[in-house]
């Protein structure tokens, strides 16, 4: 499907979705509360068939966080980007690791690096960081390394 066709069928699924202009792929902004049912539809809808989550990450904008999901269809070869704005103080979003298995480790990484809580994640614990890092999220802009911080 082309970007315009994707836009039409996604508006049918989720009328509240807004779109960003520019960029190689269709970029969709959604509310975090809409994410889980919307993700289910993206995966199961026969004409969309987004069966591959190829990137899951987060951005710290200082005022808020943004979750970013890159989805692809191995059947139709179309891609979309889904973004969702999260609260800076208490970032929470539903897990999608039951829909795309790969989200399991990606969400654990976002959890340790940005402190995002993924609701209903089966095994939300540190992935790469050593034990005792909970609560200190090194990829947040206001993070200061407690051991080796060098003030310039």
């Amino acid at each position: 499907m082309t970007i315009e066709e994707l836009k039409i069928s996604i508006t049918e699924l989720l009328p509240a979705a807004t779109y960003e202009e520019g960029g190689e792929w269709l970029t969709i902004n959604i509310e975090p509360t809409d994410w889980l049912p919307f993700a289910n539809q993206l995966r199961t809808n026969e004409s969309l068939y987004f069966d591959y989550l190829f990137c899951l990450t987060c951005i710290d904008w200082k005022t808020h966080l943004t979750m970013v999901y890159h989805l692809s269809s191995t059947k139709f070869r179309h891609n979309i980007v889904v973004k969702s704005k999260l609260d800076k103080i208490n970032p929470v979003i539903e897990t999608v690791c039951n829909i795309w298995r790969t989200a399991d480790f990606h969400e654990r990484e976002v959890y340790e690096m940005f402190g995002v809580n993924f609701k209903n994640h089966p095994d939300l614990r540190l992935l790469i960081l050593p034990d005792g890092w909970e609560g200190k999220n090194p990829l947040l802009k206001d993070f200061e390394d407690p051991v080796n911080m060098i003030k310039l």
């Binding site: 050593p130 080796n148 310039l152």
Partner: protein, 201 residues
């Protein structure tokens, strides 16, 4: 009858770059062979400096330059760095080519400990010297490999040009020949075995 002059004539100054020029000592030719006059330490250092096998160890982009130096164009075998060994037990020099992160630091220490004496260390590039671009506020990078193991030669650059690494390798050879590497100027540790035995008694 005049003999044509030859390089083997011991009365002549040997040509630069020849074996006799680099050899730390004098060879006096006598009937049936020759007598070498030198200090044994100098001969050992000379021999060691001309056969330094590096360890295959690269943790980031400096490793690409390291591979270029090993390749045909720059070719560190010309200077006696014959072949990179994949085992620390067969290596003489470790070139820290890249960033050392906190999780890699114990591995680097273990590799260094596994290398047989005498062993030498080259810190290649900004990351291995000081943490480089990761110097300021990073949670994972060691700010210089010399926090983990002692370093003999530092090469600046990000990454250094192959010529710079070759220069560092030759500098290391000169350092070994003059007996000034950390390995060579180490103060011998006082023997504590007897004391320990006395303490146990």
């Amino acid at each position: 009858m005049d003999k044509p002059s030859s390089n083997t004539d011991s009365s002549k100054t040997p040509a630069a770059g020849s074996l006799e020029a680099s050899f730390p000592g004098q060879i006096h030719e006598t009937p049936g062979g020759g007598i070498v006059l030198s200090k044994l330490d100098d001969v050992i250092n000379w021999a060691r400096s001309n056969s330094l096998w590096p360890l295959t160890f690269a943790t980031s982009c400096c490793g690409i330059e390291y591979m270029a130096v090993a390749g045909a164009k720059y070719d560190f075998s010309r200077f006696g760095f014959e072949v990179a060994r994949a085992s620390p037990r067969q290596a003489d020099v470790i070139i820290i080519a890249g960033t050392i992160v906190n999780k890699m630091a114990p591995v680097l220490k273990r590799l260094y400990d596994q290398m047989a004496d005498p062993k030498y260390v080259i810190a290649m590039g900004a990351c291995a010297i000081s943490g480089g671009p990761f110097f300021y506020n990073t949670y994972s990078v060691v700010k210089g490999a010399d926090h983990v193991i002692p370093v003999d030669v530092y090469v600046a650059g990000c990454p250094p040009r192959p010529e710079a690494l070759l220069h560092a390798l030759i500098s290391l050879q000169q350092k070994i020949k003059s007996g000034l590497t950390r390995e060579q100027i180490q103060v011998p540790k006082p023997a504590t075995g007897g004391d320990l035995l006395n303490q146990i008694k």
